[in-house]
């Protein structure tokens, strides 16, 4: 099995340890990675989507073409890339005029959008395509005794009808939960699990409101779940929860800091990936959790 890896700006430039986590864990589970050489920004919501539907769709469609030309689907670890690409695909499927216009633009580049490639988020792809027992059997370290709280990420959930790897009930998601339990983790529920982390446009527009929104969520996590670790399915959630906690702590707004990892990083650690490579760039220290995982080889 082979899949095109759409890295995404935030992962490539801000958290390349997450990129390494994918490059380590996918092949371990029998999925070969294609780099989709020459991929660009998805493009993200504040750019072309906010200017023009045809221009947005054309940039997105070019990224799809890179996968189509190799008969591959696309996976991404970023919620925004996933949402932007999937929305474009949906628009191009239902609107022949838009498709004609986009292909008119792509023609000059010697490309043609066919609509054959699908886009998946990295956790959903594993859930749909890989036997969950295979994940269990491949583990070098188990998460037995580790309590995690989940942050699926908005874009992995909504709008559900445009996604091929959607949840059955998007307001009560279970894919990330099942995948964490497959690693042996104890998943603790809390009431604000599907609340937004505050990253994205909100953080760019108003950091204080963005951090305050996250603060409400963090307090719910701490009071109701009190986990060893927060696990997310989105690179934007990862960056927000990882970087904002230091500031909130400094400002006296929280009295705790909870380590956070993307699911792909946690998976890579459980498969025996080197911590410095697959989780080496966290701002909120993850060393305690990593020691706990690697110190107890109980599989």
């Amino acid at each position: 099995m082979k899949v095109g890896f759409f890295i995404g700006c935030n992962t490539a430039f801000n958290r390349p340890d997450l990129e390494q986590a994918v490059r380590f864990s996918y092949p371990h589970l029998g999925v070969e990675i294609d780099d989709l050489e020459g991929q660009s920004c998805c493009p993200s919501w504040g750019t072309m989507p906010s200017v023009d539907l045809a221009g947005w769709s054309a940039v997105s469609a070019r990224n799809f073409c890179l996968a189509e030309e190799k008969d591959l689907d696309i996976v991404t670890v970023c919620g925004s890339c996933y949402g932007s690409l999937a929305e474009t695909r949906h628009s191009l499927q239902k609107d022949p005029d838009l498709r004609e216009k986009v292909n008119g633009i792509l023609e000059g580049l010697g490309r043609n959008y066919r609509g054959s490639a699908n886009v998946y988020q990295s956790v959903g792809y594993l859930y749909k395509k890989i036997d969950i027992d295979k994940v269990r059997q491949s583990l070098k370290y188990s998460l037995a005794g580790l309590k995690v709280a989940l942050q699926p990420g908005c874009h992995t959930l909504w709008p559900s009808k445009i996604y091929v790897d959607r949840e059955e009930d998007s307001f009560h998601p279970h894919i990330l939960k099942d995948m964490c339990q497959a690693l042996g983790a104890d998943v603790a529920d809390y009431s604000r699990m599907t609340d937004c982390c505050g990253m994205g446009g909100m953080r760019s527009a108003d950091m204080e409101r963005s951090f305050n929104l996250l603060n409400v969520k963090l307090k719910s996590i701490k009071e109701e779940a009190d986990p060893d670790l927060i696990v997310t399915g989105c690179s934007s959630c990862l960056i927000q929860i990882d970087t904002a906690q230091g500031q909130l702590y400094k400002d006296g707004k929280i009295k705790f800091q909870i380590p956070v990892l993307h699911y792909m990083q946690l998976l890579a650690l459980c498969l025996g990936g080197e911590p410095e490579k697959v989780a080496g760039l966290a701002k909120t220290s993850v060393s305690g959790v990593i020691n706990k995982i690697r110190g107890d080889s109980n599989v």
Partner: protein, 189 residues
């Protein structure tokens, strides 16, 4: 930005009658299906975070023709694009598409926050809306090549992307300089 305590007074006879039509043309096609039930507001992170304008209020203000008041407020740029509103709307209004349509109106009036202009500029100059100048070192630290296998490493691919942008509304509107090809500095959007 409009403060939370300030009441906005609309003079309906000064409203913009073609406003709804423009929103529909720019992607908010289902706006007239909205019955202001408020389900979108109940799930909106912007409403929860205390922004003065969010999905339901935006639609109401468009119905009132309050074009200028909306152009003066930057709330729409704080939308997370999370699509909770589109998921929950019982009338298939797709409120997020109306936020995008309003942003497209604002772009055509050059009423855009500096961060968004920087994001567009970075997309055009380096092919990524988010780009960190020192990322090469960060990547090498975790054992990756300095450049990801994206447009950053393939100049021909960047030219392709720029050729697409030259044929888009971005070119017609002229909100960013597009002739040159200078490397942008750090940009985090």
């Amino acid at each position: 930005m409009i403060s939370e305590s300030e009441n906005i007074v609309f003079n309906l006879s000064e409203g913009e009658p073609r406003f709804v039509a423009q929103i529909k043309e720019l992607g908010g096609e289902e706006i007239l299906e909205c019955i202001q039930c408020g389900k979108c507001a109940a799930v909106c992170p912007m409403a929860l975070a205390g922004f003065p304008i969010f999905n339901k209020k935006l639609i109401q203000a468009i119905f009132l023709g309050a074009r200028e008041a909306l152009l003066d407020d930057s709330s729409i740029w704080a939308c997370q694009s999370c699509n909770r509103c589109t998921e929950i709307c019982p009338r298939d209004v797709r409120p997020f598409e109306i936020i995008l349509a309003m942003r497209r109106v604002a772009v055509r009036e050059f009423a855009v926050p500096a961060m968004s202009v920087e994001g567009l500029k970075s997309l055009y100059d380096v092919g990524h809306a988010v780009y960190l100048k020192d990322s090469g070192q960060t990547r090498q630290k975790v054992g990756l090549p300095e450049k990801p296998p994206s447009v950053i490493a393939f100049p021909k691919a960047l030219k392709e992307l720029q050729a697409i942008l030259h044929q888009s509304a971005l070119w017609e509107i002229g909100i960013i300089p597009m002739e040159g090809n200078e490397m942008a500095d750090t940009c985090e959007v």
